[in-house]
Symmetry: none
């Protein structure tokens, strides 16, 4: 296995949120392992562990046994430089949206040097808006408009397959890779910390009325998600907000 | 749906041979339907029909109900111009072998005008040599060498997905185009006006020292350029800077 492949795969987290059927978790673990992926994180699974998970995992019970449980998506995304939300549903004021193949190329490229995550929602209702807002990109599998409902583990299989091909570099023109892999991207928690500071400043100064927020923070999140903030840029933005509120010199 | 897509999809048969688990047949039907495929042929299924097939088919029970049963692979392949055997196992004296994506492109191309088939074997022993010999091409899904055993329905999902992308044409959809043409992008002068306001605020508050600017504005420009600001976003950003400097309410 090439170093790039090994690095990308080690850095790619598959995050399953509020999964209902334990069998789907087992099948997802199997799907991951066939493609060389091993880092599975479960956010509040509803019926796990269970015999059905073990059965459907087949010979991927090691991936299942190594799965980490988290209480929140935020915890699962700690340290990630890119989080991609898998969602078929069109969303108002959404993040940038791409197809599975494009998302896989970006995840593999950034995953070569920094932790990244691919996030799946509950089988029935998918990801919540709050969960999607913690990601920087939405990815969907091109599907039939009459029936676009892939089984959860089937979707994990398709994405894992595309991630493998992307990491192997097959059929990918590196000129087309969106997102410079050498970019020093800010971590999930650094960006979230900036949003907390910004929102608080906007509320305190009266620009944002908490009683009528009008999706202002969602819009700002979407803007910065498109940019893909670097570590140093988050520091600059924090400094800008801090200084605008409390000037260093008299005006 | 384009004519090529409709023709290809109508002409593509998914053939499952000697399937052991009825649940896998149901899950395969669901996988097919999500990608727009509907022609399912079952060669001597071992435990079909069954409740588990219906359950796993979810809302693809129509595909399941329309499935045709055959006594032999030869009967299933009647009239096809190309039959592709799905097999991960290396075979002595084998047919030409390609990966799933290459096979899908060929199936979709020929399927635009003539019937074609994609053939899957039993969950445990796969396709027999006699069955493979009735095909003209072997296709495999690139998988991890340590554990290459995809679940049958997961393999059907990956192939169906590749068939859909191949039939749609490029294998790439328009989502991949960087910069959404429908986005209401801000004009050059609007963005420049924001930079003037921002720089002036940063100088006046002391965050930016004009004597030692340290490429600060250049970094901020680069960040927002990556995002590709929309008209409304520029207004929001201007409002943020303005309000942070001159709060609407006392602090």
């Amino acid at each position: 296995m090439s170093d790039v492949l090994k690095n990308s795969f080690g850095n790619i987290r598959i995050v399953l949120c509020e999964t209902h059927h334990a069998g789907n978790i087992g099948a997802a673990a199997r799907a991951m392992k066939t493609m060389g992926l091993r880092t599975l994180i479960l956010v509040n699974p509803e019926n796990f562990p269970g015999a059905e998970a073990t059965r459907r995992a087949s010979r991927a019970t090691d991936v299942l046994a190594g799965a980490r449980a988290c209480d929140s998506l935020s915890e699962a995304l700690h340290g990630t430089a890119l989080a991609v939300a898998c969602s078929a549903r069109p969303r108002e004021l959404s993040m940038p949206a791409v197809d599975a193949r494009t998302a896989a190329v970006r995840l593999a490229a950034i995953g070569a040097s920094q932790p990244v995550a691919l996030v799946f929602g509950n089988e029935t209702y998918g990801l919540t808006t709050a969960q999607v807002n913690q990601c920087q990109l939405i990815a969907s599998i091109p599907a039939d408009s009459q029936y676009a409902s892939l089984n959860l583990a089937a979707a994990v299989q398709v994405f894992s397959y595309e991630l493998r091909l992307a990491a192997l570099g097959a059929g990918i023109d590196s000129d087309r890779v969106p997102g410079d892999p050498t970019q020093d991207r800010a971590s999930h928690e650094a960006v979230e910390g900036f949003y907390v500071q910004l929102e608080s400043a906007l509320v305190e100064t009266g620009y944002l009325n908490p009683a009528q927020p009008k999706k202002l923070m969602q819009r700002l999140r979407r803007l910065f998600a498109r940019a893909g903030l670097e570590r140093e840029e988050v520091n600059i933005l924090r400094g800008v907000v801090q200084t605008l509120r409390n000037p260093k010199k008299k005006q």
